[in-house]
């Protein structure tokens, strides 16, 4: 594995960890106080991070992700 690929893998792993943490936080907010503006901003962040993960064809208008 090249240095670049190793770096990519580390970044991906880090982002995955961040994603999981944010998803848990968002879920907690929804459970305690419902879907709020703060929760919505968190969802925006969550989706942005998801887009950065490998194999996520984030940007095409015609993608299938829901």
């Amino acid at each position: 594995m090249s240095h670049h690929e190793k770096g990519q893998e580390l970044l991906e792993s880090y982002l995955q960890g961040t994603l999981t943490r944010l998803e848990k936080s968002a879920q907690k907010i929804i459970q305690t106080s419902g879907y709020s503006s703060e929760c919505e901003k968190m969802k925006i962040l969550i989706e942005m991070i998801r887009e950065q993960l490998k194999n996520e064809n984030f940007s095409s208008s015609t993608r299938q992700v829901r």
Partner: protein, 503 residues
Amino acid sequence: MKILVLQLARLGDIYLSHPALRALKRRYPQAEIHFLVRDRFKAAAQSLEVVDRLWIWDTKKFLAPFIYETPDKDEAALKEVSSFCESLRNEKFTNIINLSFSPLSSYLTHAIAGSQTQVMGYTRFEDGYLNLPDDTSAYFYAQVGVGRYNRLHLSDIFATTMGLEMEEADFVAPVKWLSESNKRRVFEKYNSNSFVNQDFLVVHIGSSTPRKTLEVYKWRQVVHRLVKEVAIPVVLVGGKEEEENAQQILVGLKTNERICSLVGRTELEEVFPILEKSRLVIGGDSVMVHMASLVQTPVLNLSFSSVRFWETGPTSPGSRVLYTESSKDLASDRVILEVLNCLDNVPSRYKEVYYRQMDILSPYKGEKASGEFQWSLIKAIYMGKMFPVVENALTFEGLKRLAEIVILAKELLQRMGSREQRAEAQKIFDLVDDLLFQVMELAPELYPLVSWFQTERVRIGPGSFETILEKTKKCFFNLEKVLSLYLDENELKGDSSGKNMFR
């Protein structure tokens, strides 16, 4: 009137949005049009004269706290996002049109819309669930994308989302890039190259991913043969990241009056004048196709299965699509033959070639493209056309399975009306989605029908239990109506005697 259009997809999607934006300005000349795009692709939105203000979605900035391990990174990132959303919300847009069709853009749209803002495109309900407020968004959700059967072009879908119809005059490049002064500047810059003063071909050797274009060795074969067999110069274009590929392609060729490489040398604003002057543009599924379409230059689009050429293929008259499952299946000979056919305006002899006539891409040879049944089904469901005849036994079987699912669902929904039976009925009802998925696997021809049905359920949105129950019943009722076009009364009741296999 203040309108925000969101286009957070890729470079090509931004160019595909240009005609709809022009139509929007034409329809509402007094409106202030704002356009939100990603930082990485902003070049495609700059200088679009119908846009009054360009907003930039800077992903790097929002995610920087995570990348640089800022203290309290979650709060820091949230603050950045909130601040940006607040800026947009404070504009108090009368209309927001989301052409991105993605989860991110749906949350963003809801976050910045005011209580009086009319929203088109994906957004969210107050409880965070996906909201498809208009029929076009529902269509997109159900039918658009790789592996599906839509044949409407994205540029048309964008305009329809806005409730507009486009005109030929909407398909133009930004005025600034086709001004006489810019053209003069561009052709003076490349004056030392002989192509400037005559007809030439443009070959775009790149794309955003390798699977959307030919392998380098095949491009080499194509370009070498073009130089030998075509009477006009060949001009290679592409980004800096394609320079190495260009070098490999040119090995064995002397740069002379027949071949010239501009790969890695052109700025985006220089490409439009070059494409406009070209006789033909040859390339994979890439942004060059969309740019050529905006200057009405015919394109020979080499298209592969990772992209739906129906949705993103060239729209300029005289264009063709040469489609194969993958670039491995496309011989360079075929490409050369099709280039010559294009230049001589000769119809293709091969069924995998599609040509553009009016608004439609049609196969040469008149043979039906794969997915014809599904497309006919889509036209029937959404455009009021006749429902197609079922000729496939599996499809008919799938229709009968759907009828059985409807019977089961109706019974469960009835039970849910009673509080005592609700919990158990709900548990079983949750399996309905699995059953529908099985039907799609059994009978792929029914995909559009099932997808339409599921989308109508997604559109129900939040409400009281009774309201949701009634709306769900209505969805199943509507599905039953469609099934009644294919199944007799007994079959609708789940009694399949096997007498009427086909219609």
